[in-house]
């Protein structure tokens, strides 16, 4: 089970990130979590939003390169060591992590967004351990 991440390619030019956020704001797309990875020339903005399809459509209309990527959103214990335990499970089964970032809704709950080599396998492995991955609907309901 996976959730949809909104990915946006942005050139490293002044104001470019602001333009993306402006499009999202004007269409009432709320950001639950984000990660920005960049080089000196360009960046990839990865977003977990409440309305990924609308976000993609509106950004594309404004000329942005954008796509929806399947990612795993997993709830973990909000305490030291819980992330390490999760990664160990995946590592033992030869699943590589391409990138990862956190998602936190309030002081008591913590989530991690994961992109792995084989998403289905990762999701199955986690299920074996009783760890559930959230869908986009689940994420919106948080």
């Amino acid at each position: 089970m996976s959730a949809k991440q909104l990915s946006v390619f942005i050139e490293n030019r002044q104001g470019r990130l602001g333009e993306v956020l402006n499009v999202l704001k004007n269409n009432d797309v709320n950001i639950l979590s984000l990660s920005l990875a960049d080089t000196t020339e360009y960046g990839l903005l990865r977003l977990i939003v409440n309305k990924p399809e609308i976000g993609k459509e509106k950004l594309a209309e404004q000329g942005f390169s954008t796509m929806l990527t399947a990612v795993l959103v997993i709830e973990i214990q909000h305490e030291a060591g819980s992330l390490q335990t999760l990664l160990e499970i995946l590592s033992k089964r030869d699943i590589n992590i391409e990138y990862m970032y956190g998602l936190s809704t309030n002081a008591n709950r913590a989530f991690v967004v994961l992109k792995t080599s084989d998403l289905n396998k990762a999701s199955d492995v986690l299920a074996e351990y009783g760890i559930k991955c959230l869908t986009s609907e689940d994420v919106c309901a948080l």
Binding site: Q5, S7, F9, I10, E11, A37, T39, E41, Y42, L44, R46, G63, F64, S65, T66, M67, T69, E98, Y99, K115
Partner: protein, 432 residues
Amino acid sequence: MIWSKEETLSRAEIEEIQLSRLKETVNRVYKLVPAYREKMDKAGVKPEDIVTLKDLAKLPFVTKQDMRDNYPFGLFAVSKDKLLRIHASSGTTGKPTVVGYTQADMDTWTECVSRIACMGGATEKDVAQICFGYGMFTGALGLHYGLERVGAAIIPSSTGNSEKQIMYMQDFGTTLLVATPSYALRLAEVAKEMGIDPARDLKIKIGLVGSELLTDAMRAEMHKVWGDDMLVTSNYGMSELMGPGVSGECEYLCGMHINEDFFIPEIIDPVTGEVLPEGEEGELVITCIKKEALPLIRYRTKDITKLTYEKCKCGRTFCRMANLTGRSDDMLKIRGVNVFPSQIEEVILSFNELGPHYEIIVEREGYSDKLTVRVELAHVTDSFRELEDISRKVRNKLRIILGLDAKVLLESPNTLQRFEGKAKRIKDLRSK
């Protein structure tokens, strides 16, 4: 099909025509154009010194600067009342260069373009859409008259309003497209945005492209979007010489046949001015031998190419010039290395991950030149590794081809400027 029997004359017959027309032209300009007389006197050469075709090399060159110095009509060999048409080039620096045509010149022009259109596969059955800018630029009207003579139905749609261009193609059943290679690619892009597949949904099977150089990679790109069965030929000309119609490719795509009964080509070393032997690459110099209004002699085109006199499989005997590798004034000297923009284009077009549009920026950083190439991603990706991979591969290939390190900037699809006429893809910021 071959349009005129002149195109298949023997070498001896061609040379006989050339020599008699050359003598006549040199006599005329010496008598009628003071600027020529002055130039020839200064070089110590008289019309009677032209005895064989080899004597052409004795004559002084004419450059764009000569045309500017004699603006507007100083190099004309007829009075204004004999003129039927005046065109001018887009003078990006200073005054434009002005050219004129008499009735005979218009006929010559039409004849030359008809031959080229015919070489490119045009027949009276074609519906030809001319997407060159109509106006002072010679490209559109030159092709217009030539294709009309061939008997094609002309759609003079000019440039711009690309959606409407696609609509005409669809509704009028256009079979032949006249455009610059970059505008042809742009039109395909627009068609796709409108949900139309140019290769499948349109009837265009012939592309006559010109006014910009067509590299092999660009031709491959044209086939990719317009279909493998499209015959894409490039043709060559410039307003100073006449407009389009100086030379064009036949279906064998092995160089552009020069209309040698109207133009004598030479290849020179652009630095020393020395005439180079057949097959060597250098600057193309053209002498117009059958023009009344503006018979330029040994005009330096600044275009880099080479010639071959081998007979072509199509049966034409006229010599062929290779597709241009660049312009001697487009050549960039970056950190002491000669770079032609076409080399960079070739690298970019070899990557499926990139679109065909690009921009070259040369800057000065301290005492060193810095080359930056902006390219467009063909597809969206979410993977950093993929992006870094593309960037590194392009950079490596540029280093191998150019012998220079370049910075590669990846951009979103559709962010770089599109051009309807000649593409301006080079920004040399070093002099500023």
